[in-house]
């Protein structure tokens, strides 16, 4: 059968897909907070902006993340860690996406990473990318997916670890176009 074509998420997704974040009176299935106080692993915050071809931060993007837990398991049956987050860039004054999660462990010999899916007005088909961690240099060098990326573009996939008063923050911007364009994958 033929796949159903994609269409843009448009500018008005918030009340349908992330209502609680945008203060609509409807429950959300997912948010920017993936962890509870019981979740095992190193608590981290992932922050960044989505930049267009003119360098402007995009305030109507929706970012989704999919990740393993601290044991390297997806959909673990022994905890409440779902591993899926969704955040719109329309509520932060700097148009950042912000995820409170835990650092995933390695999966199948790959370097620790998070799958990132990007939706927005003006994107007729969503884009897939991956986030890797700046403090995993040795693992990153061996990673089978990163090894397919041209050397000069690998840095676009690596979130920078910062120790801040609010805890460990990984800073990572998604750049849609241009010299520093984030690597997007045909997944």
């Amino acid at each position: 059968m033929t796949q159903t074509p994609s269409q843009t998420v448009g500018p008005y997704f918030a009340y349908g897909l992330s209502p609680q974040q945008y203060l609509y009176n409807h429950t959300s299935i997912a948010s920017g907070n993936l962890r509870t106080s019981n979740t095992q692993g190193e608590p981290i915050t992932i922050k960044g902006r989505v930049l267009d071809g003119q360098g402007n931060a995009i305030p109507d993007a929706m970012i989704e993340i999919w990740q393993a837990d601290a044991k390297g398991q997806y959909n673990p049956t022994d905890s409440d860690f779902k591993g899926f987050g969704r955040f719109g860039t329309g509520t932060d004054p700097e148009a950042q996406f912000i995820f409170q999660t835990i650092k995933p462990a390695s999966v199948d010999g790959q370097a620790p990473h998070i799958t990132v899916v990007v939706f927005m007005r003006g994107l007729l088909t969503h884009a897939y990318t991956r986030l890797y961690f700046s403090d995993e240099t040795a693992e990153n060098q061996k990673d089978i997916v990163l090894s397919t990326v041209p050397e000069e573009r690998k840095n676009t996939l690596i979130a920078q670890r910062q120790e801040t008063p609010e805890g460990i923050v990984y800073q990572w911007d998604i750049v849609m176009q241009g010299e520093q364009e984030t690597v997007f994958f045909d997944v």
Binding site: T4, Y15, L17, Y22, F119, R121, D186
Partner: protein
């Protein structure tokens, strides 16, 4: 090559200049092909526990002091994979404008009335046959700023999960015979041979006599990778 690769002969390209917002947002460098790993062959699972009582009935889930205005419709269809197998127990999320063509979203400034009894968002989970069903109000067309006298055709936004993260799909369902489709760059961005796949079909068997008209809209997702060993 993964068996369930994204089919770029049916999906719209990133850059489609008639739709102006694509110009500074479309990735400009070629995508890098990725062989699927466990990270791609897994995905979030949202079942019945994520759906509340009236979540699939948009004629009820926004009521404050009466019934929402507009034409009641049933929208139903099956979620299938590319091999035609039903995708059971998968979450379907929708959102739409009201009958007047106005979204409840705070950013929508279109000069058409909000309906105090219509919210416009809903969700449900597919059954054993991969079928979902919503009761809602037929959304109105609305103007937008893409080009002079631009109007979006009537549509309902859909968000699907399917069996893993590569199945993720966000799309829009249109209505048969809508004269605005030929002028809409978002719809026209889809390669011509695949456009009809976004148009629902009027279905008399889905109507509820004396109550609501029925439209069928089937959705095909990529499904499982049938040949995972080739990826090792």
């Amino acid at each position: 090559m993964n068996h369930n690769q994204r089919d770029w002969e049916v999906h719209p390209p990133y850059l489609y200049p008639d739709y102006k917002s694509t110009v500074f947002r479309a990735p400009s460098k070629p995508l890098i092909p990725m062989k699927h790993t466990l990270s791609e062959s897994t995905g979030p699972v949202y079942g019945q526990e994520s759906v509340g009582k009236y979540d699939n009935d948009l004629t009820k889930n926004g009521i404050r002091n009466g019934e929402p205005l507009g034409e009641r419709i049933v929208v139903s269809g099956r979620i299938l994979d590319i091999d035609g197998r039903p995708i059971k127990n998968t979450l379907v999320e929708i959102w739409q404008a009201n009958a007047a063509g106005r979204y409840i979203h705070k950013v929508d400034q279109h000069n058409a009335p909000l309906d105090p009894n219509f919210f416009g968002g809903g969700r449900c989970v597919t059954d054993e046959n991969g079928r979902y069903t919503f009761m809602t109000i037929k959304p109105g067309a609305y103007p937008w700023g893409n080009h002079p006298n631009a109007w979006r055709p009537n549509h309902i936004h859909f968000s699907l999960f399917g069996s893993n993260i590569t199945n993720r799909l966000v799309t829009q369902m249109y209505f048969p015979g809508d004269p605005l489709l030929q002028y809409d760059p978002i719809y026209q961005g889809v390669p011509e041979k695949a456009r009809h796949l976004l148009v629902s079909q009027f279905d008399l068997s889905l109507t509820q006599p004396d109550f609501a008209l029925g439209y069928n809209f089937d959705i095909v997702l990529r499904g499982h990778n049938a040949t995972p060993f080739e990826n090792q």
